[in-house]
Amino acid sequence: MTDLREALVGLELIDHPVQLRQRSRDFYWYSPILKRELDGKAADLVVVPRTVDEVVRVAAACASNRVPLGVRGGATGNYGQMVPLKGGVLLDMARLDRTLWIERGRGRFQAGVRLEAADTEAQQSGWELRMFPSTRRQATVGGYVCGGAAGVGSVRYGQLRDAGSVLALKVVTCEETPRLVELRGVDIGKALHAYGTTGIVVEVELPLAPAYPWIEMVATFDDFAAAAHFSQALAESDGLFLKLDSLLAWPLPRYFRGLEDGVLPEGRHVVMIMVAAGGEMGVAALAAEHDGSVTLQRPYRDERGRMPLYEYTWNHTTLQALKVDKDVTYLQTIFPPQSNVAALIASHEMFGEEVMAHAEFQRRQGRTNCSSLQVVRYTSDDRLWEIVRQLDTLGIKLSNPHSYILEDKGARVPAADLQLAFKRESDPYGLLNPGKMSRWTA
């Protein structure tokens, strides 16, 4: 480490043990399993680069000294994506926070730009992010493309991995003489959702969407099946322009604080919606056809002191539950195309309140499907895996949130092959976020 520190003279370094521990954590503690495995893991040194040149210096120093190198954005991941398993250096990208340009529906950002800032800047010229995670206010653009998959907006624009969802990534390789590589088109897959194992993402170019005036709505239902059919029908209504369609089974709404009285009636299942202004009538009519009623309708405004509906959805749902009840955890599952609603209803009937159904509706290959972030009353690991096995019999497949291994998230083989091949060039010593890519370790 002495040689390394000499190479990093002049950079902002943090080595206070408390700060090292704080900066080495994400939201892995949602999982009791990961909590056991990752508690105590920490970097030996945090570097806060201000320029890409400084990132290059750090990469060169780590490569020369064979020191592990990880990257931290907003640290809002849920499976230890950025947690340094083998110590070493952690790059905190917080100061690489410049928006480089926004024009003709595209934006180019440094990796450390917070999604909220990116979205706000885009809105100033009439655009907005196509999608963002529920951690929009904390997460960074770089963290999202390295560790995220979808989010608020996916009901219209699909997944981050879909062609056209990310336009370019600029990565720094981890070699004695690091290279700057611009990835575009199919090459984006070399670093997208790779947890930073194949290169240090320093810039991200995203396609934007024209900004809409959004309306937040809550519809509630006595019957879970009716709510599930409503959510699906809503997303299949091509004339209703949506940004969010989240189904939250009772008793999840019991954990939600901050909404007015009457919005979340006792015992009722909830669908949280963002729809373009003008669509309110259509949503209400569809809810009525499913014996539901609208209990909240208000313009979406991004302002301090007001919790947006999306902060009850996606991975925030589990967080809201954990704030109230430390004994819950969650699952992350994907559903069979075209029979997703039946599977969702069957899973709800199978487990009742032990596995609280939570489904995020989204486009997949032009159709509506859902993924689920079920909140689980945790009793033991054995019971958790038993639940997973039973869900599997319904065609509901685990994308394991209790593992920090990249390939356990349902990574498709071609993407994994591409990443492994690229890593051989970009990280010949296997220093980038070591221990996460199991195929490399093997």
């Binding site: 056209g164 336009l167 575009r184 396609p207 969407a209 024209p210 091509d238 259509g282």
Partner: protein, 451 residues
């Protein structure tokens, strides 16, 4: 309405003064016709149809006066917009009056992406108001430059943009409308949300639409692109893949084989003879992904430009939807067309079977669309017309092979896209037009006994 006596048009015009009326032969002919002549079947049946008087109200008050007058005298009234229909939607089968609504052309307001306009406003003029504010129509017919918004709602179903937003019948695509009834004292009704449905695609048989409230879409910088493919199968597979690419924003995906593309005269310098093409309108930020997909699927981009209204080459959308047939008809008057739906998990196979079965007799033309939350394609095949019997043989084959046909060779509402009697439409007509004077002869379910 079987026995309608001719009206004394001079007297009617005098009674209605100062409302503008047209009775000269040229106006009567021009305002009594649409593009029905695409169909040799309709051409025979409708070529003699003519109104006896064209009345051009300038506002709702004049319209109400006209309707009250006609109600009292039992004069049939057929509302008309731009006259760009293809099945005689706005043709006065029983004579009487054609209501020309082109003067009702005010753009009333635009707020939070919702526009309120009068029915006679042309689509192009609606967008002239909305585009500077960053909004455009969610979808429009290929007749955007001549059709009116009221005519589109009353006689159309979908168009350029339906590949994003579905059609007019999809929930949320029409937010409200104002309609005047045909009664002794005509009423102006405000319909909102689901209530609008009985008046959508009803050919003006159950009220005269005077205002519309439409949800708009935020406008994108669009690019027009033509991709060439070795064959129709490859082009159709590309069309499907493009529509299933949720990250690529597109407004138009049209596929033509060479048999139908050969008539696109202004585009011929760019096209490779014998090849199929996809005509696409794609958002500028999606260009790279679009190019990569077309290359991966064996396509070659042969034409690309920023979407344009001016220049030697018309906007690409004027080669699509019902304009495709028009280009063919300009070259060969014996050609006509079909409208069918290729849907279901095997819809690309259905397309392949139709191509294999009919070959050059039905040059293939596909319009990709979203329908009930998934991707499907309308077939607007050209037909090298031999006779009516053969035409219905082809239709029968399509129907029995699970490709439902919206027969474009009939002026009867229910025999076109609807297939069955729309009870809501009929019930609404009982209320709004108890004497059956509005656009008589189009709604099969209606008979005087209904009232």
């Amino acid at each position: 309405m079987d026995s309608v006596s001719p009206i004394d048009s001079d007297a009617v015009a005098a009674d209605l003064a100062p409302i503008e009326c047209l009775a000269d032969r040229a106006s009567l002919r021009a305002k009594s016709r649409d593009f029905f002549w695409y169909s040799p079947v309709l051409n025979e049946k409708l070529k003699g149809v003519s109104a006896e008087l064209v009345v051009c109200p300038a506002n709702e008050a004049e319209l109400i006066r006209t309707l009250a007058y006609c109600h009292e005298r039992r004069i049939p009234v057929t509302p008309r917009g731009g006259g760009t229909g293809n099945y005689g939607q706005a043709m006065p089968l029983h004579g009487g009056i054609v209501l020309d609504l082109l003067k009702l052309d005010r753009f009333l307001w635009l707020k939070d992406g919702v526009a309120r306009v009068e029915a006679g406003l042309k689509l192009i003029d609606l967008e002239r108001h909305s585009l500077p504010q960053g909004w455009e129509l969610r979808f429009h017919p290929s007749t955007r430059r001549t059709a009116t918004i009221g005519g589109f709602i009353a006689g159309g179903s979908g168009g350029v943009g339906s590949v994003q937003f579905g059609g007019l019948r999809a929930r949320g695509n029409v937010l409200g409308l104002r309609l005047v009834t045909m009664e002794a004292e005509p009423q102006a009704l405000e319909l909102r949300g689901e209530e609008v449905m009985p008046a959508v695609h009803a050919y003006g048989t159950n009220g005269v639409i005077v205002e519309l409230e439409m949800p708009l879409a935020r406008s994108w910088p669009w690019r027009e692109i033509i991709v060439s493919f070795p064959d129709i199968g490859g082009a159709a597979a590309f069309g499907n893949a493009l529509c299933e690419s949720d990250g690529i924003v597109r407004k138009l995906v049209t596929v033509c084989d060479w048999q139908s593309a050969q008539y696109f005269r202004p585009l011929l310098p760019y096209l490779k003879p014998g090849k199929a093409i996809a005509l696409c309108v794609v958002a500028d930020p999606s260009l790279e992904a679009f190019e990569a997909l077309s290359t991966a699927m064996g396509g070659t981009i042969v034409f690309q430009r920023e979407a344009a209204e001016a220049g030697d080459i018309p906007p690409l959308y004027e080669f699509t939807w019902n304009h495709t047939t028009l280009w063919a008809l300009k070259a060969d008057r014996s050609i006509t067309y079909l409208q069918c739906l290729f849907d279901g998990p095997d819809y690309l196979d259905k397309i392949a079977r139709a191509v294999a079965t009919f070959g050059v007799e039905t040059p293939m033309h596909l319009e990709f669309t979203r329908l009930n939350g998934h991707v499907a394609a309308f077939g607007l095949q050209l037909v090298r017309y031999r006779n009516e019997a053969r035409l219905y043989e082809i239709i029968h084959w399509l129907e029995t092979n699970s490709c439902p046909v919206a027969d474009p060779h009939t002026y009867i509402l229910e025999d076109g896209g609807m297939k069955t009697v729309d009870e809501a439409q009929l019930a609404f007509k009982r209320r709004t037009d108890p004497l059956g004077l509005l656009n008589p002869g189009k709604m099969k379910a209606w008979s005087p006994a209904c009232s």
